[in-house]
Symmetry: C2
Subunit: 612 residues, 2 copies
């Protein structure tokens, strides 16, 4: 007991001594701080960044910082997140209601927890959640002294179902709410399904920015957003025949699509110039058709890409273009014609010979493997640029047609094309579970009288590459077809650079600017038939594009398309410009993409002052 | 002795036994080979690359390989090196005489030795030699099983002098000879100086290609080349004010220039939008004018770049643009006007107030540090886009002019400009050793009557950014000025993409294709005055270019300019096309540059068949 008392006394003494020391230190520190403050005031000394941003009339104004304005100034990212009348620099802008505070709180990216009612253990959800966390960490510069102070984030997800089907009936909307208390940020996300919640996380990630002044991530302290897309089909098409893109290029492109809530990756896999699609039952197609043995998409590559995309809210639509645009890979098949025939007006485009029965057996094998690897919800059968001048050169074809009472005039050759399309489709249907929707490019076949005679409007969706004001679009709409818009006067991202003919600018020059894409309203194209517009796609034909340049051809112009289709804004491009510059930075920093620069850095630093 | 005899006998026995074993093995191997051969013949089995190249009529034709053509076929690189009527895929093509064999020999890149008569221990030479070796190794793919068989290379360099001055009198020609014997390749290079020998190594490196069939480097077994440039001034200009490019971007660009024997890096360092040039005696210029503190070229950065360039046969020409195109950095100086004044027709361009004496003191400080860091052989003083509408707004300037009997009309304002230019030049001359040549952009000042009144043709070189057919060019030539051609209708590499005005294509759209640049003959611009053309520069103004995209804006179009100026071919672009595609590959593989793709891979694989 004595010992115990002694210890107690000793302990008390220690506490007293330490308390005394602590008090002394506190007094000294306070005195010191006060003196420093005083010195600061006396000398008007300021040692920090030269420039900061002041929010004036919803514009972030670059201003030299001094002691009198330092408390009102913030870093560019923080100012842009809080200063404007919309919400931050969200891209695409929400289409529904938005409320938000103009305050930010620092967060601790290592302290984010999430609860879901539905998705536990689901693979897609794990990918989405992992990706969300990675996106936040990528916002932190590598040389940042960012520490782990800041609030924890608790995210609660409520989804109505755990369905991962992703078709034209999938509702992609969501609600997102952010609130804070003294130690945490709470985020509530509700949506009908995985895809809506995924989009909500995308939005949430854009409401977190890196504050370079304090070297920390910050988030808005309050937000309430209701959001859904205006169009169902929002995407790009990529051409892997003219140029083979490695799998990682395709993946980073899909990642970019996910960042701006585009939901469609239309894959124009094959064409005349190369055949990079592994068909295990027909190995000669890639052996003879690939640029080289390593420039082949294997079945496992494709499954990998399709799953990668779906976990990012992106559906992959395979295109096997036929009966034209075939060549390499078919050299020894005896089933193609006109390829590399310089006397033909068809130029580069080989054509299948539709009269050969063996053709349809090979097509069935191709379709079978495509269906197995892609599990598509819609199939693109091409139908681009068929030239009857090609078939017309073959006496065998003309004899075959005569035997079947087809005249060898335009009507007859269109019937021959119809014969091909019906046979190809029946082979496709034979290997797919259900009668999937089929997409075809606009062509002679999609003009009257052939259109309504040969193409069932309940089966076929038409992808329009005509100019946006072409009268043929109205004909399609009046006949009741659903359309995907890729008007080449606005949405062909490969236009305007050099080509290899005519000392040469390519056929669809000039370059399509983001402003043109942003202003490319579906209503201007479809008028009262707007409900028949599924959406739109920007195309990236790859005659003059390779893996070094493709990012810049796509970005940030695909972002302009994304806002056109998700938000369908009525305001002009000029209102979106400062925000698109920030989206470009995000695509670079978080998406690890290269972007075409729209403006010089001066314009990023001086919001809405460029040009003067 | 006994021991020794025993050893001798033992040794003899060992030799006999080993010889017996070796013979046995040889017999077994031969038998085995024979059987394999026999099997091969029987089964017609061929297991190698699907496609190879056959040389037919000087064209490499892609052909499916089989047992009957395997001995005639080669890889693409080897075929292109040996098949044509020129020599390999050299870019730029030699301007002098060429003889060569169509055979190649494998080389061992680890066994290259060099001897020089003059350069031992010289820094530039060490860089050039090290760089040559690196270029060879970069040709070998990382996954190559390349081994060290192949011949050794012995290079002997004879230079007339060890002078490293690099001015307009420097002769850049060289002679290069390759011969072989049974174990070695001998290379003889002779030139007047370091720069000629450096160019010869560049040529030599292009005569070594990687043979992907045999996974080894090969070289032509015989060549005899005499080569020299047709024009003295061959380069690009880069704008680091609108966009700041990190030092490594500038270095890789200069490396690219060296690869195609361009010899000039014209550095448009400052402009209105940012001031990234460290001036130690005037630190406020970068403090207020740089985009950020890390976007500054320090004095040591500049010295590093200048030396880096010179060792690659590239001279750096600094431009300090004045009296217009100033703005950021000068905010607190009271020496500029009209900057950011949207009411001015001058738009973005701030102007110096030439009446302020203090201005010339600051200019002297700037020039002093430029001369010290750049050690220029020629100075660019800008003189671009001066607007008298700006000076005309200032009553103080007009009063100052009246006091000096200058009228406030165009003649008067041009005299004011002349006043500025004379004062600025005298400050420049005060801090530089000799009266260096001065370059100015074409402007009102370079038109008559001001031209011959104000600008001494023996002192000033005029850089032309007018269209190539502008009559003002003839005026300049008739008046006896030396010109550098940068006609904006062909040599402005920033044209044709989006801009931030007018839903916007930029002012000099469309895009300038390589064909246009290749066909941009100096003789068409200068006629009989061709001797007054020092050369040409492609410009890369950076309002819509950043470090992600700049490589592709420059390459391979700068290569087209390189051949125009080095070789000055009389043949049309179409003859150079297949070779330029190979040069593009070289820029990517060896230069580690990104290039704008000119054509699809099909066209690389099918020489001269594209398009059909």
């Amino acid at each position: 007991m004595v010992t115990s008392k002694k210890l107690l006394f000793f302990g008390f003494a220690v506490v007293v001594v330490f308390a005394a020391i602590a008090t002394l230190i506190t007094v000294l520190v306070l005195t010191n701080n006060k003196e420093e403050e005083k010195n600061g005031e006396d000398n008007e000394s300021y040692e920090g960044p030269t420039f900061g941003y002041l929010c004036k009339d919803s514009i972030c104004v670059r201003t030299e910082i001094n002691l009198s304005n330092i408390n009102d100034s913030s870093s560019l990212n923080v100012c842009r997140l809080t200063c404007n009348t919309d919400i931050g620099t969200l891209w695409p802008k929400p289409s529904g209601s938005v409320a938000f505070s103009k305050r930010v709180a620092p967060i601790n990216p290592n302290q984010i927890t999430i609860s879901t009612n539905n998705f536990k253990g689901q693979t897609y959800w794990q990918v989405a959640w992992q990706r969300f966390r990675e996106m936040l960490f990528r916002k932190i510069p590598t040389d940042s002294k960012s520490n782990s102070r800041g609030k924890s984030i608790l995210i609660e997800i409520i989804a109505e179902n755990d369905d991962i089907d992703f078709n034209y009936d999938t509702f992609e909307g969501y609600k997102l709410r952010i609130i804070e208390d003294s130690s945490n940020i709470y985020v509530y996300i509700s949506a009908r399904n995985f895809y809506g919640t995924r989009h909500a996380l995308e939005t949430l990630s854009q409401l977190v920015v890196y504050d370079e002044f304090n070297e920390e991530l910050v988030i808005l302290t309050y937000a309430d957003i209701t959001d859904e897309p205006k169009f169902k089909h929002r995407g790009i098409s990529m051409d892997t025949s003219r140029t083979f893109y490695p799998v990682d290029v395709i993946k980073r492109t899909i990642n970019g699509l996910a960042m701006v809530k585009l939901n469609t990756f239309h894959w124009h896999i094959t064409d005349a110039q190369s055949f990079p699609l592994e068909i295990k039952s027909r190995p000669e197609l890639t052996r003879l058709g690939a640029y080289s043995p390593d420039k082949v998409y294997t079945t496992s590559d494709i499954r990998d890409i399709v799953e990668f995309a779906k976990a990012r809210g992106v559906r992959v639509i395979p295109e096997f273009d036929a009966p034209a645009h075939v060549g390499e890979g078919w050299q020894e098949s005896q089933l193609t014609m006109c390829y590399k025939d310089s006397s033909q007006t068809v130029g580069w485009r080989g054509h299948f010979d539709p009269t050969k029965d063996e053709l349809y057996n090979i097509l069935e094998d191709i379709y079978k493997e495509i269906v197995e690897s892609f599990k598509p919800i819609v199939m693109h059968m091409g139908g681009d640029e068929v030239a009857i001048d090609c078939w017309n050169t073959s006496q065998m074809i003309k004899d075959w047609m005569n035997d079947r009472n087809m005249e060898t005039n335009i009507e007859g050759f269109m019937r021959l094309w119809d014969y091909f399309q019906r046979n190809a489709l029946s082979k496709f249907d034979a290997v797919s579970n259900s009668q999937l929707p089929i997409i075809l490019w606009t062509s002679r076949l999609t003009e009257e009288p052939f259109l309504t005679e040969f193409l069932d409007k309940n089966r076929y969706i038409i992808q329009v590459w005509l100019d946006g004001n072409d009268a043929k679009i109205k004909t399609l709409l009046e006949a009741g077809y659903k359309l995907i818009i890729s008007n080449s006067d606005a949405l062909y991202l490969d236009c305007g650079v050099g080509w290899w003919v005519n000392e040469g600018l390519n056929w669809c020059s000039p370059y399509k600017t983001w402003q043109k894409i942003y202003n490319n309203r579906m209503e201007s194209i479809a008028g009262n038939y707007i409900d028949q517009i599924l959406g739109a796609e920007a195309t990236i034909w790859s005659e003059s594009i390779d893996e070094g340049v493709i990012d810049m051809r796509i970005w940030p112009r695909a972002s302009a398309l994304a806002e056109r289709l998700w938000t369908n804004p009525t305001t002009p491009w000029a209102n979106a410009e400062a925000r698109l510059l920030m989206n470009s930075q995000l695509l670079v920093e978080v998406g690890e993409l290269a972007v075409e620069p729209l403006q010089l850095e001066w314009c990023v630093q001086n919001e809405n002052e460029c040009p003067f």
